[in-house]
Amino acid sequence: MHVTSPVRPPLVTGAKTYADVTEDICRHVEAKPTKEWWVAFIISVVVLIYGTACVFWTWWEGLGVWGLNKTVGWAWDITNFVWWVGIGHAGTLISAILLLFRQKWRTSINRAAEAMTIFAVLCAASFILMHMGRPWMAYWALPLPNAFGSLWVNFNSPLVWDVFAISTYFSVSLVFWYIGLIPDLATIRDRARSKVSRFIYGSLAMGWTGSAKAWSRYEYISLILAGLATPLVLSVHTIVSMDFATSVIPGWHTTIFPPYFVAGAIFSGFAMVQNLMLITRVVYKLEDYITIEHIESMNKVITLTGSIVGVAYITEFFIAWYSGVEYESYAFINRATGPYWWAYLTMMTCNVITPQLFWSRYIRRSVTWTFFIAILVNIGMWFERFVIIVTSLHRDYLPSSWAMFSPTMFDIGDYIFSFGFFFTFFLLFSKFLPVVNMAEVKSVLRSSSETLPKKVAGVAKGERVASPNYNKDAQ
């Protein structure tokens, strides 16, 4: 017998039928772009053009246009890279890990979160290309034989691991996302009125018909892809952390990095998902699909991962002192009390203190609070990477080579580029593709919609759960 606890609140409110789901999501794909969309899109494109000009100048002129010096050789470039990769992790967590845990609330947000992953990883990759200085040499990171002018790549180096990790992560996420899109693209194809959109969505749907055989294979490979993506996402940020941890720089050389980076990645990623979904939810009127329950669940994850990050910060500090290594303790004391104390304080406040506000039920169910705390989390996580990278470097072993880092307009412009890129692509996605996974939402509708309590009562009286009237479309 199918029994669901009646105390669990519905995931889809508003007594939606299957047809309502299709209609609510497809409406935005089929309608002409709204004025708000155009405004947002034009702003993003303008930002992207400005950023592209800065990136172009960075490549044309060389990395001298950045504020780097001989002491601080990595600054905003790698900060931005780690920040964007971290943001990307939430999408995979939602679609893969929550699938393995059978968390049904993932179905309303996984599509947009995965799209966010893909664009965020592209932004991250752009910083890898930028910091190479000579991006046309990027293929040197691939294992190509000697005839290209150098030895094989050094497979002992975590930087090479990173090349493999990021490219695998990007391509597997893209495939996972696309497989999920196929049934929804077929829905749009079958509803399309104009020949052009029927043709475009038809070719994107690749001939999906929704046959039982195809669905059973779909479910099977979704499960395997989730099983692969889960260790993959953990490995990616582990390897990113090893870019630092396998070095011998005090402040970087710590074994706590992999778990601490992974938690931080999920933390910042969920914050970004909150920011994006809270806007999408209002603009597309998806309040029935992305409910306060969804927001609350994500806030709980933010509190958990934020607390893990907080514990990691304190552990790191403790170990730096307890180990008795002079350089290590200096690196940490300098972080907190040296010239970059303000960056450290921003990191501590935004990452450790503000997410704790979510212990209050009122705050974690409040859209406004969630939005602002999520922004603070993203600011804090950017500063975390900045603190780790710059404060560990800027006071070298010899006081004569101590230096400070100050960004130039090209450091800032290249960072702005990634925002323009990200939002341009996210807006295109939200206009032309379904922002909610319709097929998966429909599959949880029976067990998690508002009509459920009636059904449960019906079962108790011995009625059949399935009544042919269940899905009568609202006329």
């Binding site: 299709t22 695998t168 196929i182 077929a186 018909t209 039982a212 195809a214 669905w215 490995s235």
Partner: protein, 176 residues
């Protein structure tokens, strides 16, 4: 299922539970069902239709093993045999350092291999024409059962009656 051709009876159902219960009833009555189309996965439908369990997992495993071997071979050969190099005082062949990339390559091969098999077995792929559809609502809110009249002993009228009895809202005839 390959693109359907011929004359079909199409039962349109309104509810996933109803069609899931209808399938065994119809099969017991001797109706041969070609395929069921639904807007989302109905758990238990492939069992009800008697479809064999998909073997795509075996394919995925084989791709994974291939990826694992390819990754390891590449690294051992380049670092240890083709141009032996000592980096950081480690042996030219130091397996622990190769684990991260071996893992990534394994995942990459498994994912892409499995998805390729998924596309081939489902007959999905880039195409200029859309597949024959029994009912366009099958990707929206209806659950569609297709019955090939050629392969059935029962008459059209008998099957139509059976479909109606099991809860079909509409019974249509589709000729491709």
């Amino acid at each position: 299922m390959a693109n359907p051709h011929g004359k079909y009876l199409v039962g349109v159902y309104d509810d996933d539970e109803v069609i899931l219960h209808a399938v065994p009833t119809l099969r017991k009555a001797g109706v041969k069902i070609s395929e069921v189309y639904s807007p989302f996965a109905i758990h238990g439908m492939d069992d009800a239709l008697g479809h064999p369990r998909t073997r795509i997992g075996i394919a995925a495993f084989i791709f994974g093993v291939t990826g694992c071997i390819c990754g390891l071979t590449l690294m051992i050969w380049t670092m240890g045999i083709d141009w032996p190099m000592i980096v950081g005082g480690k042996d030219p062949i130091s397996i622990p350092n190769y684990i991260p990339i071996t893992f990534e390559v394994t995942v990459l091969f498994t994912a892409f291999g499995m998805v390729t098999v998924f596309f081939i077995t489902n007959g999905l792929g880039p195409s200029l024409v859309n597949p024959n559809s029994f009912d366009p609502r099958a990707t929206d809110n209806k659950f569609v059962m297709a019955i090939d009249l050629k392969g059935n002993r029962l008459s059209e009228a008998e099957i139509t009656q059976q479909l109606r009895d099991t809860g079909a809202e509409e019974v249509n005839i589709k000729q491709f």
